[in-house]
């Protein structure tokens, strides 16, 4: 499927963006005292750092969408988990436990989503739409003051940089790698694709679509828990409106990354490149000094242009392919 996937295209576009940013703005090359320019990767590192939770969430969402479902509750779930993380860290629990607690809560949310979808036999969009509202209400209810503080030790984890790269990035990278490999090399991974492609055919070959949907939603809950632990560990306080619009961000990243919104086609790698693309475009708007008022419009136009370009490209290639080998 290589020539059809969006990965190579996104790889090139992202590389181009980075090169242009590096060449024309202080993104990677900043002026030194002598008036020349020196390499400085801190901006890139901070960018990755800020999007680490998004990477993790988007990977989970990829599996959900690949399986032909969708999870709209991720934003509210992120908030709930982050609040739990902050509160647990405040209670003086050791840092690893403060990491574990949101993961447990996230997994529990995933379990509920999955169970309703699998046993109630309804599409996840309906369940998670309700869940999104429900959990947000719960968060505001639990945090009437509007925010909870995280402990300094907990926040320190997010700021630590073993081997020069922050823990958030290490976690995100490891997670993405494992899931990417699982998607391609495990039976579960392949069954996700099969169910997303055609649940009836999957049932005929003995896969239980509902079981797959249950597991991806469960797994996505876990991913959100992890994402929120990473997210929370980088903030001094957690506000109760955190994660609003997260679902749309993740879905955008996934479809920009080339995954079909109807399931059955796409890849974790594409999603990662999609997140990176969104992040770079957002930052580029600031580096290129686009006035904030026009930021949204330019951002949207850029997305449409990039995806349109890729689709035109893949159509042209398909044509050339047909003409060339027939």
């Amino acid at each position: 499927m290589g020539w059809k996937g969006r990965e190579p295209f996104l790889l090139i576009v992202n590389a181009l963006l980075i090169v242009i940013l590096a060449a024309t703005t202080p993104f990677m090359m900043r002026p030194d005292a002598a008036g020349g320019r020196v390499l400085d990767l801190s901006a890139l590192r901070l960018l990755l750092d800020n999007y680490a939770a998004t990477f993790i969430g988007a990977v989970g969402m990829t599996l959900v969408i690949l399986a032909g479902q969708i999870d709209l509750s991720v934003g509210s779930a992120l908030a709930l988990c982050a609040v739990v993380a902050a509160q647990v860290s405040q209670m003086g629990w050791p840092v690893p436990l403060a990491f574990l607690a949101p993961i447990l809560v996230g997994t529990l949310i995933g379990l509920i989503n999955g169970a309703i979808v699998a046993y109630g036999r309804i599409h996840a969009i309906l369940v998670t739409l309700g869940m999104m509202t429900l959990l947000r209400g719960l968060v505001v209810h639990l945090v009437p003051a509007g925010w909870v503080a995280t402990s300094d030790a907990f926040k320190g984890v997010g700021l630590a940089r073993p081997l020069g790269v922050s823990t958030s990035i290490w976690i995100a990278a490891a997670f993405a790698l494992v899931v990417a490999l699982a998607a391609r090399y495990t039976r579960w991974g392949r069954e996700i694709y099969a169910v997303g492609s055609n649940p009836n055919a999957a049932a005929i070959v003995g896969i239980r679509p509902h079981r797959i949907w249950f597991t991806v939603l469960l797994f996505n809950g876990f991913a959100i828990g992890l994402a929120s632990a990473v997210h929370a560990s980088r903030f001094g306080v957690i506000q109760n409106n955190i994660g609003q619009g997260f679902e749309l961000l993740l879905i955008t990243a996934v479809v920009i990354g080339g995954t079909s919104i109807f399931g059955g086609y796409g890849s974790v790698g594409g999603t990662l490149l999609g997140v990176l693309f969104l992040a770079l475009v957002r930052s580029a708007l600031i580096y290129f000094r686009i006035p904030a008022l026009w930021e949204q419009a330019v951002y949207g136009a850029f997305l449409l242009f990039a995806v349109g370009l890729d689709i035109a490209r893949s159509r042209a290639w398909a044509r050339a392919w047909r003409g060339g080998t027939a």
């Binding site: 499927m1 290589g2 039976r187 392949r190 099969a194 005929i204 070959v205 079909s260 060339g324």
Partner: protein, 508 residues
Amino acid sequence: MDTPLLALRNIYKAFPGVQALAGVSLDLHAGEVHALVGENGAGKSTLIKIAAGVHEPDAGEILIGGRPVRLQGPRHATTLGIAVIHQEPYLFPTLSVLENLFVGFHPRRGPLGLVDWRAMAQRAEGVFRELGISLPLDRPAGELSAAQQQLLQIARSLLQDARVLIMDEPTSSLSQKEVEILFGIIGRLRQRGVGVLYISHRLEEVFALADRVTVLRDGQWVGTYPISAVTPEALIARMVGRELTQMFPHTPHPPGEVRLRVQGLGRPGLFEGISFELRAGEIVGMAGLVGAGRSEVAQAIFGILPLEEGWIEVDGRRMVPRAPWEAMAAGIFYIPEDRHRQGIVAPLSVRANLTLAILRRLARFGWIDRRAEDALVDAYRERLRIRVSDPEQPVGTLSGGNQQKVVVARGLATQPRVLILDEPTRGIDVGTKAEIHRLMDELAGQGMAILMISSELPEILGMSDRILVMRAGRLMGELRREEATPEQVMALAMGLTSNGGVQAPEAR
């Protein structure tokens, strides 16, 4: 003979509105090819779905290797050594051909049980070699032609190393050459002791392959016979419950003025330099091997595939159709070959499907005239004997042949001036087949110009006034009814000889 590999005893199964099976029994022995025949909707597919664990029988018993089992689902059946090629292509359209071959039983390796992609590719190449086909392994299955999808399903079932192989109309979109390869394979499997349950409406296949044949009618078991004990006529009589008169009711009509002229049609990579004419009152057959590009030509004429070269002329008016509705406005209609993708809208009712292409005609100021619609549906239901308990029944719940009939009826209902039928009688039983042929004959008699694409030689030879033969995207020649023989058609289709001065182009 010893204990049968598979035995079905007194099976009952009902769906809403219909008793699909009522007391059917059948057994299959090692090394046996057992044919299952019956009219459309007789219950053949339902029976094998029960054997495959897809449906649960309402009553009755399934014995595998002599032991009664209660199948827990398709995977259970697979583990018990039953492989099935279903009538509907159960494919994963977005997944690659390679993956489609193995979903459900990926080869795995290592302590973690990781999917072994290399082994998959190797085994796929092996089975393709055995079948003498080549499918692009990394192409999404949804992009394959109907014939390729069927080959894919066959390859898939062979990969399962099953003791029982059930095939529900495996050859319906294959042409002679592929059918012969398949028969060779079935022969080898039989020697290895595999039992094959084979469903087909092509009686010549049944007689060429089967050891025994079971006949179903209306969900009832009619009888099981050694093949030597029945004749085709007797078999038909048992399936249909009455005598059939004429198989190909062809009356030549004096061809009228030119209805459709096709000039230099081309789409590099698919077909090139296609020129021919269709006259009013003519039935022109189009023969060729699978993948010859016949469907593509027809779809280009219908405006589905954008043309890159050439043009068409309908009743003297030149045009390059860019969308089906444009072709329809000019008086052309195309009945597609791939009924699942291009034909039926499975969840919609028979009524809605049948009238889908003529809604505008049924509407007055946009509002559909239900009375006229119902009358039309009733007329075609009767005419093509569409077996449906209620026109509101979703088409997807019809038997394969009856779905095909709905698609054909939809095309006939448009009453075009030029009708192109792509494999119109695929999966349709002998009785209705004759009825469809009679209808085609009648329509031609009324001045319609008909192009019939078919991979079935007898149909081509029996129905056509003229025969066009395609090979590898080129028109190889034209034969008149009187001069055409099966050998000549095959020779042209395979590029073996030249005929009538037409030279075979180089294979691409």
